[in-house]
Symmetry: C2
Subunit: 162 residues, 2 copies
C-alpha cells in the first residue's frame, strides 16, 4: 500500500500493531510456561487475556473507519521478541531468567505504548472518534501492565536474582 | 558470554544498549537529512549530540564496574530502525514523512527508556552506585527527548500532515 497522507500512515500503523499483537498472543504462553515465579506466570496469563481483547478492539477500529483488518509485518516486534526468546533459551538460573523475562515483557509494553500513543494522536487529528476511544482504552491498559510489571520486578524478582 | 546471575544479565543488557546507541548514532544523521521541518531536523541533531554523550557515559559505566566496553547485537533496535528506514524510503509526501519519522524516533526513545529503566533498577540492586547515577542521567534525558518529540508531533507536524 502506498502511503500518501496521514490517513494512509494511520492505517499502515494499525496494520503494524495488529501484526505485533498477533505475535504477542503467540509469545505470551511460552513466556508464562518458562516463568518460575507464580506471580510472573499469572501476570503473563492476565496479559494474554487482555491482548486477545486488544486484538478484537483493533478489529473494531478497522471496522469503524471502513477498512479491512489486516496485518503488515512489523520488524520491530520481531526483533524485540527474538531478543526475549534468545535470553529465555540461554539463561539457566531461574531467578535470573525471570528478571530477564520481565525486562523483555516491559520492552514489549513500551513498544505498544509508543505505537498506541501515536495512533491515538493521529486518530484524534483525523477525527475518528470511535477509533480514538478504542485505542485510548488499549493505551491505558498497556500503561497499567507496564506499571504492574515494574512493581513485580522491583518488589520481588530482582531481589531474588541479586 | 554465559548469563548465570543478575550481574551477568546487567552486563549483557549494557552491551545490548551500547550496540543500540551505536546504531542510533549512525541513524540520526540520515533522519535529520530526511526531515522536512526545520524544527524536527534540529530535534534530531540535538539528540545526536546527546546520544554521543550517552555512549561516553556507557563507557564510564563499564569502567566503573571493571568491565570492558563491548557491544552485543541487539535485534530489537535493528527491527525498530529497519521499520523507520523502510517508511522513510516509501513516503513521498513531506509532512506525512515527518509524522512517520517522529513516530519512529519515539519508538526508539521508548526502547531506550525501557532498557535504561531496567538497567537503573538492576544497578541499584547490585549496589553499583556510580553506574546507577550515570544510567539515571541518561534515563532522564531519554524521557525529556520523548516529551519534546511528543510536543513537536502534536503541536505541529501532525496538524500539517492532516
Amino acid at each position: 500500500m502506498a502511503i500518501e497522507n496521514l490517513k494512509d500512515l494511520f492505517v499502515h500503523t494499525l496494520q503494524d500493531i495488529y501484526y505485533a499483537e498477533g505475535k504477542i498472543v503467540k509469545s505470551l504462553p511460552k513466556m508464562a510456561k518458562a516463568a518460575d515465579s507464580a506471580e510472573l506466570r499469572k501476570a503473563f496469563e492476565k496479559h494474554l487475556t487482555e491482548t486477545k481483547e486488544q486484538v478484537k478492539r483493533l478489529d473494531a477500529v478497522f471496522k469503524s473507519i471502513g477498512e479491512k483488518a489486516k496485518a503488515t509485518k512489523c520488524p520491530a516486534i520481531e526483533g524485540i521478541l527474538e531478543e526475549a526468546e534468545e535470553l529465555m533459551g540461554e539463561i539457566k538460573d531461574k531467578d535470573t531468567k525471570d528478571a530477564a523475562m520481565i525486562a523483555a515483557a516491559q520492552a514489549v509494553e513500551h513498544y505498544e505504548i509508543t505505537r498506541y500513543g501515536t495512533l491515538v494522536s493521529w486518530s484524534e487529528m483525523l477525527g475518528f472518534e470511535d477509533a480514538t476511544a478504542l485505542l485510548e482504552e488499549t493505551l491505558e491498559e498497556e500503561k497499567a501492565t507496564d506499571v504492574a510489571l515494574t512493581e513485580l520486578a522491583e518488589d520481588k524478582l530482582n531481589k531474588e536474582a541479586a
